[in-house]
């Protein structure tokens, strides 16, 4: 595979590639921040506001149980959301750009 440097430059400086990189960085950072907020929200409520998680929602069951289990499921769903975005949106642009470069 030989790619001319000026072609590479052109692609690297194209709006399309810049958008792709920006989109990817912003999606991954947004999802990372969401995950950290949920996780540290949980940790901080354990540290400062135990009563919240100790509230009863049944005879004995506390709200902390579904919240704890829910965070595990939420973390997994978040990876699913990322996969969905990457497979449907990101990969499509990647394919287009790759074709542009490799055709030349």
């Amino acid at each position: 595979m030989s790619i001319k440097t000026e072609d590479v430059r052109k692609i690297l400086e194209s709006e399309k590639f810049k958008m792709l990189v920006m989109k990817r960085v912003s999606v991954s950072l947004t999802l990372t921040v969401i995950m950290l907020i949920v996780y540290f929200g949980f940790i901080l409520s354990i540290a400062f506001y135990k009563e919240f998680l100790a509230q009863k929602i049944g005879d004995y069951i506390t709200i902390g149980l579904p919240i704890g289990i829910g965070i595990i499921i939420f973390a997994w769903l978040l990876t699913g959301i990322y996969i969905y975005w990457a497979n449907n949106k990101y990969d499509k642009s990647v394919r287009e750009l790759r074709n542009q470069i490799l055709e030349k």
Partner: protein, 515 residues
């Protein structure tokens, strides 16, 4: 104390048979893999032939150690809700691995994560520094696994400790030495299926006693002990402690060399992300199971009895498996626990060997000029060295309280490996000196601060007052590592590396030129 009959600690025919079956099958796979393990790409990365789903299972296998199976179930059994805090911390790192690391790592690297950190920087200094971070993480993790293996097998099978350590060492060396990454991957996959399958059955048998309704189980636990087992308790006394531990668990996951190495076994970035999705689902499901297992053990076996067998509660899952499934089922779960240790140790050894041979021998000592045959031979010698080192560590630390070494491994991974990896992927101005100083600062602070922390200074060295207040240093050591990396890079600008950063974008984001 209530009376409780158990055969734990006596030779269990079922478990011996199942364990030998596991070893026989995995050695056969190793024989099969050995014929497909000749080149470097085959030895380190199974020739990139592993599918996303297979790698997801193998990642789960690498990550679910006996400590997380037996340790977390035990913690839940003795402490109730607080045990869940650990599970969640161990899981939440995975989405971050996916969002920040998996794909660029796959696109930029070849065999080790140091490939990515050193990609556009000066090879020698960066490789040496990142090898230090990798090897420290691996050695601390190995200590915990080997000592745990010896102690566990002693309790389970009545075998002498030294004998157990040597068996684990030899079988594991055989996997890695002959079968390389391909054999190691299949050992992980089989172990993951056994572990998740075993835990699922254990939960089904347990819930059968509560009309298949987990709410009945939790209610019974609250009635037997107190409401408190279902709410957060004394785990978090100092919020900074909790935050620091949380950071170590989640960012450490994203810096474990044996986990990162697995991303080079799949063909492309798409399969890399798929494997994290599969792994996160499996590990999350497994942690939910261990939570139910912990409460099952608390209710059906009882906290006194669990604590009587092991103060940390490590025997809870095993005692429960005999209580609900009889002697044969105990044998099965015990064999699975043994297989778990074997698989994790094999993954660690392969990763340590690749650091020694690929990063240090080839890229530092030989300045990148070593032929295939030579490199594979050196990788095999390195495997023997790490394998023997693992056995020695197991023997030397016999009877020591080494539980802290897992926390230390995660702290080093979060403070030395993670910052340099993330900065090299995301930040254009990252320089060689920045990377080296960030890694060295993170690694040494993590070790020094944990020695001065209550974990070692008070609990092990028996001093009155800890010099560093937090039990886990990650909050401080990780942040300092980032700051040092950024500040030093600002003062040691490397225009060449900055230009390369633009060019490597083609590879990072489009996968063009990836290996």
């Amino acid at each position: 104390m209530e009376t409780f009959e158990t055969t734990l600690g006596h030779a269990n025919i079922a478990s011996v048979i199942i364990f030998f079956l596991f070893v026989a099958i995995t050695l056969l796979i190793t024989y099969w893999a050995a014929k497909r393990t000749r080149t470097t790409s085959e030895f380190y990365a199974a020739d990139r032939s592993i599918s996303g789903v297979q790698n997801g299972l193998a990642l789960a296998g690498d990550y679910m150690s006996a400590a997380s199976f037996l340790g977390i179930a035990g913690m839940v059994a003795l402490k109730g809700y607080d045990g869940l805090i650990y599970s969640i911390g161990f899981l939440v790192g995975w989405p971050l691995v996916m969002f920040l690391i998996a794909e660029p790592l796959r696109n930029l690297g070849k065999f080790t994560f140091a490939d990515v950190v050193a990609f556009r920087l000066k090879q020698k200094p960066v490789r040496i520094a990142s090898s230090i971070g990798s090897l420290m993480t691996i050695v601390f993790y190995l200590i915990a696994q080997m000592v745990g293996a010896g102690a566990l097998i002693q309790i389970l099978f009545g075998l002498p400790y030294e004998f157990a350590v040597i068996i684990v060492g030899f079988v594991m060396i055989a996997y890695v030495l002959f079968g390389g990454m391909l054999a190691t991957t299949w050992v992980q996959i089989i172990k993951a299926i056994l572990l998740i399958g075993g835990a699922t059955f254990l939960v089904i048998f347990t819930l059968a006693q509560f009309g298949f309704n987990p709410i009945n189980l939790f209610n019974q636990a609250a009635i037997k002990y107190s409401d408190a087992v279902l709410s957060p308790g004394g785990f978090v006394t100092n919020p900074w402690d909790a935050i620091s531990l949380g950071l170590a668990l989640i960012l450490g996951t994203a810096g474990l060399p044996h986990i990162l190495m697995r991303f080079f076994t799949v063909p492309d970035a798409k399969q890399a992300r798929k494997s994290v999705f599969v792994a996160t689902g499996l590990i999350g499901y497994f942690y939910i199971l261990t939570f139910v297992i912990g409460f099952g053990a608390m209710t059906l076996v009882g906290q006194d009895i669990i604590a009587h067998f092991d103060k940390g509660g490590n025997m809870a899952a095993l005692l429960l498996s005999e209580a609900v499934g009889g002697r044969f089922f105990l044998g099965f779960i015990a064999a699975v626990a043994f297989a778990t240790i074997l698989a994790v140790v094999a993954g660690l050894t392969l990763s340590g060997a690749s650091t020694l041979s690929h990063d240090l021998y080839v890229n530092v000592f030989k300045a990148g000029k070593a032929d295939e045959v030579n490199e594979v031979r050196v990788a095999r010698i390195a495997t023997l060295c790490i394998g023997v080192l693992a056995i020695l560590l197991g023997l030397v630390f016999k009877g020591q309280n080494v539980a802290f070494t897992v926390g230390l491994a995660f702290a080093v991974a979060a403070s030395a490996n993670f910052p340099s990896l993330v900065l090299s992927i995301l930040w254009k101005k990252f320089s060689t000196k920045g990377a080296v100083s960030s890694i060295i600062t993170g690694a040494s602070l993590a070790v020094i601060l944990i020695i001065l922390s209550p974990t070692i200074w008070v609990d092990i060295l028996k001093n009155q007052q800890a010099i560093f207040p937090l039990k886990n240093p990650a909050l401080f050591s990780m942040l300092t590592s980032f700051i040092v990396g950024i500040v030093v890079s600002y003062f040691t600008k490397e225009p060449e590396a900055q230009n390369k950063f633009e060019d490597e974008k083609l590879r990072t984001y489009l996968g063009i030129g990836s290996e």
